[in-house]
């Protein structure tokens, strides 16, 4: 009895309609938070005493970097669920995550190198966090490459799921080995619990952006998931009913 909700999550028609109903509940708050956060970060927050207005790129960079890891986690966990319980929907979630995560990673890399130009005097610095972000991009590309190389959807699902799970074991190893290899980046300034290094006028818009990006990801994921389910179940009869209404 207690597991019926879990079994219902395995049903593509149920997820398809659930995703359609849930999308606006994530999309609108995401839009409000991102617009509010941008206004707070780009207009209201005072310039940094050291970096001037250059620091404002953090309002896009930090949330993108955060999301690039968070999406990989989501992808690997749902791939693992799909591998263990053989849930088609979980594999569809993992497949929908990968391009979104890769885009967030590219966004974090581009904003990071744009910030690097005035701050470090160079577009690319072999800084540990940028480097591990770059390796993360390669992991996403490998995942997407493996999926696209296999024509059989089930085999692509399960092979790429193994890769995602192997990748998640490696992500912390790669992160720490790269950190140990070289360190130039600023020390993390958000998560100092005792005394935040940022005044509230800077921190609140950043937290709004983080939450907004997370909700934005969920909304995009739900839309992509519906597309993925449509293309996987295109020969099923419920699709005809769902699309005609």
């Amino acid at each position: 009895m207690a597991w019926t909700w879990f079994h219902r999550l395995g049903s593509p028609p149920y997820i398809y309609s659930l995703a359609a109903r849930l999308t606006p509940w994530f999309a609108w708050p995401a839009a409000a938070l991102i617009l509010g956060g941008l206004y707070g970060g780009l207009v209201l927050a005072p310039p940094d005493y050291q970096q001037g207005d250059g620091f404002r790129i953090i309002y896009v960079h930090a949330p993108s970097a955060w999301m690039s890891l968070m999406v990989y986690m989501t992808m690997a966990i749902s791939a693992g669920v799909g591998l263990i319980w053989r849930m088609k929907v979980a594999h569809a979630v993992a497949a929908s995550c990968a391009p979104v995560g890769a885009s967030f990673t590219v966004c974090a890399l581009v904003t990071g190198s744009l910030w690097g130009q005035p701050m470090w005097g160079t577009y690319w610095e072999w800084d540990p966090r940028l480097t591990s972000e770059l390796i993360l991009l390669f992991l996403y590309l490998g995942y997407m490459g493996l999926r696209s190389a296999m024509e059989d959807v089930q085999r692509a699902d399960r092979s790429s799921a193994v890769l995602a799970v192997v990748g998640i074991v490696n992500v912390p190893i790669i992160h720490y080995s790269v950190t140990w290899w070289n360190s130039l980046h600023q020390a993390p300034s958000v998560m100092k619990l005792a005394r935040p290094a940022m005044p509230a006028s800077m921190l609140i818009p950043l937290l709004m952006m983080l939450l907004g990006f997370t909700l934005f990801f969920v909304a995009v994921l739900l839309v992509r998931l519906r597309g993925e389910i449509l293309s996987r179940e295109r020969s099923a009869s419920w699709i005809r009913e769902a699309v005609s209404t």
């Binding site: 190389a149 193994v162 190893i173 790669i174 290899w181």
Partner: protein, 244 residues
């Protein structure tokens, strides 16, 4: 009657022996088989080593013949060349056995596929990783590395290539069902191998400078142990998926 009993007896004995073959014994037999097969095709065996020698020769030609400059880049050159030649050798790991159906027989044999594939990976390391560890100091000497650094290079390449073979076995298993898998295999394997490259090159650099290289060597060992414990499971899962 007498003849049929004589014919049945060995069959029964054979069946009993088969049932008693433990996972370790089966793995040992696989290892011996793979080594024997490899030594019948010596040309293929030498290819990754020749590739390693050629790549390390390219760098003096591309950078400069000055030994002082080459010595600075030697750790990176050795490790990038080792990584690439182990990648090249990965294509031989499962390909032939997947083609002629041996892997399917392994999967159906009732033996632990994890152990059998682990044995194949060990054979692969003995045939490619270990010779690389012997070759690397020779290539290093040609790059102006002092003779005192030779033990450090041998040990770090030997330990690091264990991790490389195991990471590579997962990639090779995942790309079994893909036709032209070379580029995809490198896309899957290289990002996962970067920690090995970092610690391996660091250990080599410290041994060239005459420092204590035990810290990066221990990290390399940790990666190898982690690979031994986890990679065969992932490899077996990936092979099973691609045999379905």
């Amino acid at each position: 009657m007498h003849r049929s009993a004589a014919a049945a007896a060995p069959r029964r004995a054979g069946a009993g022996a088969l049932a008693m073959t433990s996972a370790l014994a089966a793995a040992r037999l696989t290892l011996v088989r793979d080594l024997r097969l490899a030594f019948r095709k010596r040309g293929q065996l030498v290819q990754p080593l020749v590739f390693f020698a050629i790549v390390t020769t390219l760098f003096p030609l591309a950078i400069s013949p000055e030994l002082s400059r080459l010595r600075d880049v030697a750790p990176g050159v050795l490790w990038v060349a080792a990584l690439l030649s182990s990648l090249l050798a990965l294509e031989f790991l499962f390909r032939d056995d997947a083609h002629d159906g041996t892997l399917e027989q392994y999967a159906l044999s009732g033996q632990s596929l994890t152990w059998l594939l682990f044995a194949k990976t060990v054979a692969h390391w003995l045939l490619t990783g270990l010779p690389l560890a012997v070759m690397a100091p020779l290539a290093g000497l040609s790059l102006g590395v002092p003779a005192s650094a030779v033990p450090g290079i041998v040990v770090s390449v030997a330990v690091g290539s264990v991790a490389l073979s195991l990471i590579g076995s997962v990639g090779a298993a995942l790309t079994l069902g893909v036709k032209r898998s070379g580029a995809l295999l490198s896309l899957l394997t290289l990002p996962l191998s970067m920690p090995v490259l970092i610690f391996g090159a660091r250990a080599t650099e410290l041994s060239i400078k005459g420092g204590d290289f035990s810290a990066p060597l221990q990290l390399l060992g940790a990666l190898a142990v982690l690979g031994v414990t986890l990679a065969p499971l992932a490899t077996a899962a990936a092979v099973r998926i691609n045999l379905e």
